[in-house]
């Protein structure tokens, strides 16, 4: 009989390491910066 093997919780050290040089997504291109204040 085929038993579904419980997938062990991935141990911390097994977590897929982030690729080297992973950069956060660039800020959205617009709207731009506020130069004085928002009203």
């Amino acid at each position: 009989s085929v038993a579904k093997r419980a997938v062990a919780e991935v141990a911390q050290h097994d977590k897929v390491p982030r690729p080297v040089g992973f950069l956060p997504p660039p800020p959205p291109p617009c709207p731009g910066k506020i130069r004085h204040f928002r009203i």
Binding site: P31, G32, K33, R35, R38, I39
Partner: protein, 261 residues
Amino acid sequence: VPAAPPGPLGCDDPESEEAAEVAVSYINGRSHHGYKFALNRIENIRVIPEGLNSDIIFLELDLLETTCHILSPTPLENCTVRSFAEHAVEGDCDVKLLRVGRKFSMLASKCHSHADSSEDILQVCPDCPLLTSLNNTEVLTTVTAALNDHNSKTADAYLRLLEIGRAKIQYHPAHIVYVEFAVAATNCSAKEAKDNVEACQLLPDDQSNYGFCTATIATTQDKSQDLRVDCQLYGHQVPTPDSPFLSRPGVTYSQSVQDTP
């Protein structure tokens, strides 16, 4: 491998800022009412390729009113943006430019300006004076009294009112009316005007001498009034070409749109 096409222009890219600077200079340069506006934020930019090395650029700009009247010779970069507590006025502009190579030229602009909401101001500054209508009776009385007071004391040219730029009224803790108005020198001295004010006409464009006045009238508990006036003339400047208008809060003007073929 051919170079990948450049990504979409971001609102803070140098090229976007260059285009916005051309647009703001155009809007201020073609306005002859109210105050100069400065760039506060580029809300959005859209680039539509137009052909070899040329694009149509649509910008949505967020401007803020400065304290420089539009007739002031002060360069925009030296004009202070009106603070939030002074009851700021915002301009929203949609502009269309043509870019050929690195050169931008304006095709059309449409602007709408509006004052910040009184609730926002009072929330931050309960006693701050708020903008009031320019044809408010107290405002008109204050402008008239201030101009008469200046003309009665000056040894220079007799000044005539060009336009009221803005007016605010404070109710607490004292009742104070604040006005700002643009003036122009006439061909009379203040003394001559006493004899025949009808003869005093604005100087022709090639000799025009504009100025700006600020004044307050404070009314104390015992109903006595304290009037303060400060008028400064700019000296003669070369007149600028006519233009659409921007800085009447709440009013929308649009440039006659010359659509590109």
